[in-house]
């Protein structure tokens, strides 16, 4: 029964993956926890909670479900929906403080973009530890003395996840496209749905094959949504489809120019829709819709004290920390996905972003202003205060 529920939730929520799915917040007991059992925290995205609970089978611990408004950990933390306040709130209101003797909280690593560890410590006395990225690694992390291997702290995009993203996009897009086309071209709906699912699966499952050709560093964001690299991909997909349709039509003797033109148009639109936020659907690139992808990570070695929090929270293993000299280095800055976790966590503000114009984006700004839907930090510079006599009217 448990298996069926788990499978059902996985299927349903993968289909509707792009929508938030909140579940009950608060404390959950896993196994038979004691006063020394570990305390872990996750978001209140239903799918995540189910998967974390499954991963923790056989472990005795407490799981705190914080209010992330039904959004997954990484998106919620980066978008300002999972903040210090939500962590503090669940610590104080769930009753966990009366159940355990220790004060050590294991947070998901990907929440490091939005939750400031030292604020939680200062306000609650709970020490924060950044756990592994994937919940399935938690048992090994707990048994291994709370140490993370490189694999535990690095995001990957394996085929099950790619399949999930393909389905997550194909389903809503095919529903919307199907409804749009319903009034005037009903016969084409099955083919259209097939087209969307086929292209989406092709695009995501084939990701490792073309990923090296993706260009994600051009600066024309905002004018066109995707740069030449992905345009190339879109065109390739589209033209191969059109050639395919034409040859099938030719072979079956039903070839006609209006038919080919119509399908060419429909499939062009679908290819563009599907590839608009391709990189944003992967954990290994920043979204193309986000200006932040053009930011460069900068390390001020004068400020660095080598506490290596950056190394602990970086999901792409950008840093190399010399633990003898107590100094971090940007070993692979090209891997940076501009998530900002290292900036947010560094206690000495040794890290910052630099935008293409050379302006510095300080940790204070990244901590204060989260990304909104379009990927803008809401206001990068606080506006100077206007006096009433200057502006003439109140805002």
């Amino acid at each position: 029964m448990k298996q069926i529920v788990f499978a059902w939730i996985n299927v349903l929520q993968t289909l509707l993956r792009v929508l938030p799915f909140p579940c009950r917040t608060g404390l959950r007991r896993i196994g038979n926890p004691t006063r020394d059992s570990p305390v872990l925290l996750t978001c209140n995205f239903r799918l995540t909670v189910e998967r974390v609970q499954r991963a923790l089978e056989g472990v005795d611990c407490y799981l705190l479900v914080a209010n992330s408004r039904g959004v997954n950990v990484w998106c919620a933390a980066t978008g300002g929906l999972l903040t210090n306040h939500d962590v503090i709130s669940v610590l104080k209101t769930s009753g966990i403080e009366t159940l355990v003797d220790h004060r050590q909280l294991i947070l998901p690593q990907l929440a490091a973009t939005g939750i400031e560890g030292n604020v939680v410590v200062n306000k609650t006395g709970w020490k924060v530890l950044w756990g592994p990225i994937d919940a399935r690694a938690i048992p090994a992390f707990l048994e291994g003395g709370l140490r993370k291997t490189v694999a535990m702290r690095t995001v990957t995009f394996p085929w099950p996840q790619r399949l999930e993203m393909a389905v997550a996009w194909a389903f809503p897009i095919s529903v919307v496209a199907g409804l749009l086309i319903l009034p005037f071209w009903r016969r084409a709906i099955p083919s259209l749905v097939g087209l969307i699912w086929g292209m989406s699966l092709l695009m995501f499952l084939g990701f490792p094959l073309y990923r090296r050709y993706l260009r994600t560093r051009s600066s024309n964001v905002g004018f066109v949504f995707f740069d030449f690299g992905q345009w190339g991909l879109a065109l390739l997909l589209w033209s191969s489809f059109v050639v395919g349709v034409a040859s099938v039509a030719f072979a079956t003797g039903s070839f006609s120019w209006p038919l080919i033109v119509r399908w060419a148009l429909v499939s062009l639109v679908m290819t563009v829709v599907l590839s608009i936020d391709l990189t944003g659907s992967t954990p290994v690139y920043k979204s193309d819709l986000h200006k932040d992808r053009l930011l460069q990570i900068v390390l001020d070695t004068q400020r660095c004290k080598g506490v290596a929090l950056c190394e602990q929270v970086c999901p792409t293993n950008v840093f190399a920390v010399d633990h003898h000299r107590h100094l971090a280095a940007l070993a692979s800055p090209e891997r940076c996905v501009q998530c900002g976790a290292c900036l947010v966590q560094c206690p000495f503000d040794a890290l910052s972003f630099q935008d293409p114009k050379g302006d510095q984006i300080t940790p204070a700004i990244v901590r204060r202003f989260k990304l909104n839907l379009l990927g803008h930090r809401l206001e990068k510079q606080p506006k100077p205060v206007r006096r009433a006599d200057e502006s003439g009217q109140a805002t």
Binding site: V90, T93, E379, V385, A388
Partner: protein, 218 residues
């Protein structure tokens, strides 16, 4: 009154929040806030939970109270600070804090605790915690003032409210990935923490509640 759900959309655009709320509620929320603020007097200490852009906090400050507004949204607070500066109000401060951080407040230190459209955003545990803490930090004789969304008591009204809410909830969900849970049994919860409810005013559809409760003397 289900348009309160749309508040979530506006919240993602803090600068247009106040104008939007005024339009959506056709001024009725403003009136509710005005009525509630009348319970706060000159020289009193008042706390605004989830102050947002300062609608209630600024009203109390204009009446001469020493006001502290707390909210978890930095952008909204920034607007609140600007507005206070514009009006030259020195007796109001805004702090980025959540309701779970109320334990940092001194016991029996406030004459009034106010909350507009905030309690409905809390989980049941958070709501109970916030009300318990409110009872702790209120001076004897101090008042709790609430204006918020609520769930109607009869099933018929619930169905009507649900139908009106559904499309708004969907739109809000899609645009901001947020929603609110209308408060259930607020007067009972308030009574449970030891405050006595003095007045409850509900909207015609029973979907909006204004509540005044007092901490008993001694």
């Amino acid at each position: 009154m289900s348009t309160y759900v749309l508040m979530r959309i506006l919240e993602s655009i803090p600068r247009r929040y106040d104008l939007g709320i005024r339009l959506l509620t056709l001024g009725s929320l403003e009136k509710a806030y005005d009525r509630l603020a009348r319970h706060v007097g000159r020289g009193e200490r008042a706390l605004d939970l989830g102050c947002g852009t300062g609608a209630l906090a600024l009203r109390a400050a204009r009446r001469g109270a020493a006001v502290k507004g707390i909210d978890t949204n930095a952008q909204m607070l920034e607007i609140a600070v600007h507005r206070a500066q514009h009006e030259g109000l020195k007796n109001v401060e805004f702090v980025e804090n959540g309701v779970a951080e109320l334990d940092a407040e001194e016991p029996e230190s406030y004459d009034a605790v106010m909350s507009g459209l905030c309690l409905s955003e809390l989980s049941p545990e958070e709501l109970n915690y916030a009300l318990r803490e409110t009872a702790r930090i209120l001076k004897p004789g101090g008042v709790l003032l609430v204006a918020d969304e609520t769930k109607p008591r009869t099933w018929l009204l619930r169905v009507v409210q649900g139908l009106i809410r559904a499309p708004l909830v969907l739109v809000t969900f899609l645009l901001t990935q947020r929603t609110s849970h209308p408060l259930e049994g607020l007067p009972q919860r308030v009574t449970a923490v030891g405050l006595s409810v003095e007045a409850v005013r509900r909207s015609p559809l029973r979907s909006f509640v204004e509540l005044v409760a007092r901490k008993p003397l001694g």
